[in-house]
Symmetry: C2
Subunit: 358 residues, 2 copies
């Protein structure tokens, strides 16, 4: 067994309305059944007319670009400086929604194909119809990734093979069952194709030969199975954005006690974590109240016992009217909401006890 | 130009102390100058004795595994259920620090090589010395990634070529300068190698031929240049972990005004965001105080003017002593710290105004 990765030279510039099947079939009359075509998404976008006009430079260009980015974005995932990592309507998470200004006139931007799996299916069908060859088509694009420098090519769309090779349930020679090994082989094929495309100028198509003998009779489920739903993803938001979400949640923290007693160690940790920022002398003491509810008594030395506050951590009795302490808590809520927007603040002046003798 | 991806069959089981250069040189006497060897990290680890003994099953196995994971971890990045995404001492972010229980006896776990770049250099040097062949060596492993299902192989170590192919500064045929195109080609080579290794049973080495004609005279900087420093990474923490960090930061929010006046629109948004959770009737009004500092006055209808509180958002005067409002704020800080640990809470009972006439 061996694989070959072959370039497809001679495709030239692609413009709206071009028939990619003819361009590829003419440039690569040597295509065989089972070949895997890795096609750069940009030529698919160009052929499909996924281009928008923008000013060649100046502030108008940036404004037009921002507007296009917004229309291609369903969710902002992370931002820093001018970088925007967003989720596209296809579900892909990528910088600038994959909008590209390279290898195109200065007055145009290239958007991702509308439906890359459909583009792959259409190209596969056209190649079969016109040239009688049964190939796999992968539509590829270049993406960055967290934690590792440098970009790699991955698959946006595929027709003719499964996106994932599933080893789950297999047993290794030592008798261990393989539990996690689902390989994103179409991404690896896209990366392999880039090795030759990237070394040549203007080489938007590569062919990988030897990986498959027979493509799927149908087109398969496409590359959309590679999209992990945000609810399942441990990294659905950028760190700064998630931290701001934590601030925002803290600002709107509802008065809602839990239904089960909390872990005493976690309560101790929480008290310790604020020890340095609360007013000197303030003491939070874990107690069980007279109805056996887990609670914390907050006290300040020298204050009357009536001024202590009970923080309930497990099931409630009705909440009483709030006044001064609630006021202080509300001010802290506002300060947290300000901090979520990077606005530092402080309380000043604090009313004197005399002023507060309502 | 064409690339070939060739398997290296016949390496067999690797055990501690095995000489990988001899195993590979014997199995692939056809190696040529410029070939890129993609070597699965597991056989490197085994040859280098990076194995630890663990019980074959039961709770002791889990405990031993947890202890080993802790010793291989420099930073917890994200956790959900039993999944731990961690940063290793090499800087790689991966599940379980790359510790692997597959393709090894049930009583052993395989750790990552101590220094995969050094392993690659040593193997390259040994192949040159014994067989007179000048190859590139990539040590590869399988990793998951955010946002996309399925795993791919990437490079942990490399000797003989640069990890990244840098297109920055190049100009495309349309005159656009390429600004972001640094390709992680060793990751793409690792992925390409996996295509053939994964299709064959027990195939830990693949050769990619045709990508290079001449390796670097030296070994290059290694795969460590692929490690992005956490401070530069928009996804340095899991979403849940970053959100908890936001809660924790809210709990310990210092009394520290900013040095520049805040954006009035952001202040309005902050006020609006807490409108539903503050005590009914409380009003936060943006003002400029008598020293021209941006500020907010917090008032409750019916309270005396002295009971209003000023939240300063830009440069300070000395902070006065805090009493009741500060007390309320401190209680809210504690509740935020509890919430950061998933402990809901409420204030109860609130002292009456009479009790607070100190």
């Amino acid at each position: 067994m061996r694989l070959e990765i072959l370039p497809v030279p001679g495709i030239g510039h692609v413009t709206e309305g071009d028939d990619l099947a003819v361009l590829i079939g003419t440039a690569a009359p040597w295509l065989r059944d089972g070949d895997v075509l890795v096609v750069t998404s940009k030529i698919v976008s160009k052929a499909e007319g996924r281009l928008v006009d923008v000013p060649a430079d100046g502030p108008d260009r940036q404004a037009a670009r921002d507007e296009i980015l917004a229309s291609e974005t369903v969710r902002l995932v992370a931002a820093r400086g001018t970088t925007r990592i967003v989720q596209t309507r296809h579900g892909f998470v990528m910088a600038s929604a994959g909008i590209d200004a390279s290898n195109v006139d200065k007055t145009r931007l290239v958007l991702l194909p509308e439906d890359p799996d459909a583009s792959a299916r259409a190209l596969r069908a056209a190649l079969r119809e016109r040239y009688g060859v049964d190939v796999v088509v992968i539509i590829s694009d270049t993406m960055g990734r967290p934690w590792r420098n440098g970009l790699t090519d991955v698959a946006l769309g595929v027709a003719g093979m499964d996106a994932i090779r599933d080893h789950r349930g297999e047993v290794d020679p030592y008798g261990n069952e393989l539990v996690l090994t689902q390989m994103a082989v179409v991404d690896e094929l896209a990366a392999a194709g880039e090795l030759i495309k990237g070394k040549c100028d203007q080489m938007p198509v590569a062919v990988i030969r030897g990986y498959l003998t027979t493509p799927l009779p149908g087109d398969g489920e496409g590359a959309k199975v590679l999209v992990r739903d945000a609810s399942m993803d441990l990294f659905s938001l950028g760190t700064a954005e998630a931290k701001a979400a934590g601030f925002a949640a803290a600002a709107s923290l509802p008065d809602q006690p839990g239904s089960t007693p909390p872990d005493p160690e976690a309560v101790r940790q929480a008290i310790a974590s604020v020890a340095d920022v609360v007013a000197p002398g303030t003491v939070f003491t874990p107690v069980t109240d007279d109805t056996e509810r887990a609670a914390l008594v907050a006290t300040v030395p020298g204050w009357p016992a009536e001024a202590t506050t009970l923080v309930l951590c497990s099931p409630p009795s009705p909440v009483e009217a709030v006044q001064l302490v609630r006021f202080g808590a509300d001010v802290q809520r506002l300060r947290t909401a300000l901090a979520a927007r990077n606005i530092p603040s402080q309380l000043l002046p604090t009313p004197t006890a005399a002023a507060l003798a309502l």
